[in-house]
Chain length 410, copies 2
Amino acid sequence: MKINGSRLMETIETSAVIGATENGGLHRLTLSKEDEEMRATFTRWLETAELQVTVDDFGNMYGRREGTNPELSPVVIGSHLDTQPYGGKYDGIVGVLAALEVIRTLNDEGVKTERPIVIINFTNEEGARFAPPLLGSGGAIGEFSKTNVYDTKDTEGTRFETALVDSGYQGEEDDRLTDAHAFLELHIEQGPVLEEKQKSIGVVQGIQGLAWFQVHVKGEADHAGTTPMSGRKDALVAASAMVTALSRYGNSIEELVLTVGTLQVHPSAPNIVPSDVTFTIDMRHPDDYMRKGVPMAIHKILSDTSKNYNVDFTMETNYQAETIHFPEKIQNVLAEETDALGYGKELFYSGASHDAKHMSRITDSGMIFVPSVNGKSHHEEEYTSAADIEKGANVLLRATKRLADEEGDA
Amino acid sequence: MKINGSRLMETIETSAVIGATENGGLHRLTLSKEDEEMRATFTRWLETAELQVTVDDFGNMYGRREGTNPELSPVVIGSHLDTQPYGGKYDGIVGVLAALEVIRTLNDEGVKTERPIVIINFTNEEGARFAPPLLGSGGAIGEFSKTNVYDTKDTEGTRFETALVDSGYQGEEDDRLTDAHAFLELHIEQGPVLEEKQKSIGVVQGIQGLAWFQVHVKGEADHAGTTPMSGRKDALVAASAMVTALSRYGNSIEELVLTVGTLQVHPSAPNIVPSDVTFTIDMRHPDDYMRKGVPMAIHKILSDTSKNYNVDFTMETNYQAETIHFPEKIQNVLAEETDALGYGKELFYSGASHDAKHMSRITDSGMIFVPSVNGKSHHEEEYTSAADIEKGANVLLRATKRLADEEGDA
């Protein structure tokens, strides 16, 4: 039994029209007009596939295919249909639409499974409109409180709850998914590993931990024309030395990634020596032990640099997450089904975060990656070949069926 | 004959209440409510000193004291009463109120001068509300067209003309000052030279030239978690290396100052490797020949760095101004009157720009500096001692009287 690759690609291309950008990407922010249109189309697809459609109080959409033993907990598969601003047409989307294709294939083949299968479209995975990311999955499993999620505002000040109600996708708290036998998420890799190794399937071992730091460099504002170079306490020159030193350090440790993604200068006038600079550091390493030591090394780099440049600094931890290790049982199922199909595979940790991270709190979870050309994602140039998507969907089909036929307690 | 130091300081302290900040500074943006109140107070002071008050079409305010030979062109003295946001209470203000004190002293002593004396408050010297700076003096002498000045908008979108009309200080184009025998401006130094040299009077030789460049660094956006350090084209790491290299270069050349005062990062998310960074370079050196060579050196630094970091860049010149050299005649008058008073003096170029720069286009101009404690300005901590202000005002008094008694064509 194999999925219908051309039907899957046709479905993906239909999705790619809703919020299409000039450059072949997608701009489909959470609960936007485009997201509403996608949700309506997705609902029709779910109903045509004879699934029971429900929506929970975070707008997460579920399509349930009953099992021969409805008392058993379901196997859950899916991802998200929202995108980054001017993002690509694969990220998240492939995972939801491949899940739909799995159901269609089982329907075509008249295959029943013991357990129910539920496919999911999570709300606001990207966090691009409403921060933080993974809002829908985090709300469903209780990582975020309902009040906090509802009070989250977009940059124009619109509350999440308002946008949700206006979209028509505010469902019931009782419809949250709280019980599952397993969760599988197919996703594009968003990195270069599979392409470099020339493999089509990534069996994801877990999601690497990360920490976000906020650094504030405090110098002194001075007139750019009247203050000699030697007398300055230039916060931006000091911060720049920190950024380059952090980059060198990141390069020196295998598997460590350090990113300064935001940096603000104050007072920000061409003719005033900057007094204050604030920047973020995103730090990731799959090894929890390593990752715990890195902040001390970062602090040492910042401290040495601030002394050299005669400025002060503070460093705060804004967020941290341990590495999530997916159960070996799920990894083994995915690896065995990949081998059975004769596809090349690679086992590694995800550098990016995914809804599977939250789902792993309530059930055995795992992920299948398919290659991203040039490692690109969150970008209009994001591309994964139809051949690789089809392979990923076949692994998802076989693994889903296998897990859905597992016995167990209700 | 000497000015009344305590009366001058009382006048300055009265000004310091209008737009006072909690921390002892002033927030009195051009044509704001506070500026209007200051202008009304200043008008009363001008009238009490029996001056003929006029306002030109840029809101520049003039107070004329007639000479014994009214046909002769006037000696003009003054500066500006507007401030930076949360600026100090001396910048500009001392120059206007010392000019008023000069008139009051001449009145007290019953001293007549051959030539008229005109004191000026220029509109929007700071450029803090309406960019560019020196708008009033530049408009008056024809550096900026009336249309351009009137169409200038503040950050809230209010046009200069609207703010001017609303303030009640839109005067006549015929009242612009177009003819003068000389212009003198007393100003705080805003830098450390006088304090370091322990001198009270700076005889300003000119205003050093400057150039503003805009640099754009183009890298590639990537996911912070999934893109290894080695594969990145991180625009911020490259820009940071540029900023530190520029700082080193600025430190290596005497009298050169290089400032990166603004820097913007795109797309500016903690977990996205920056694709684009834009920053400004403010470059000043008193020597025009030196200053012409520096941009090539800057370009070389940017080019080498961009190659090292595998990014592209562009560098554009946004603005440049030659060094203004004040006439030796005026420098000599100021130096001789300073010596006659027994004050210590230092001759040097101004690193900051001033209304005297525009006035030098239409008449012999010069400036007197008084010390800024710790070189601070554009800051609530800006401070100049009463003793130094009094000395500066005495030099202004003697030089003004001397120039106003010079003979010449009408």
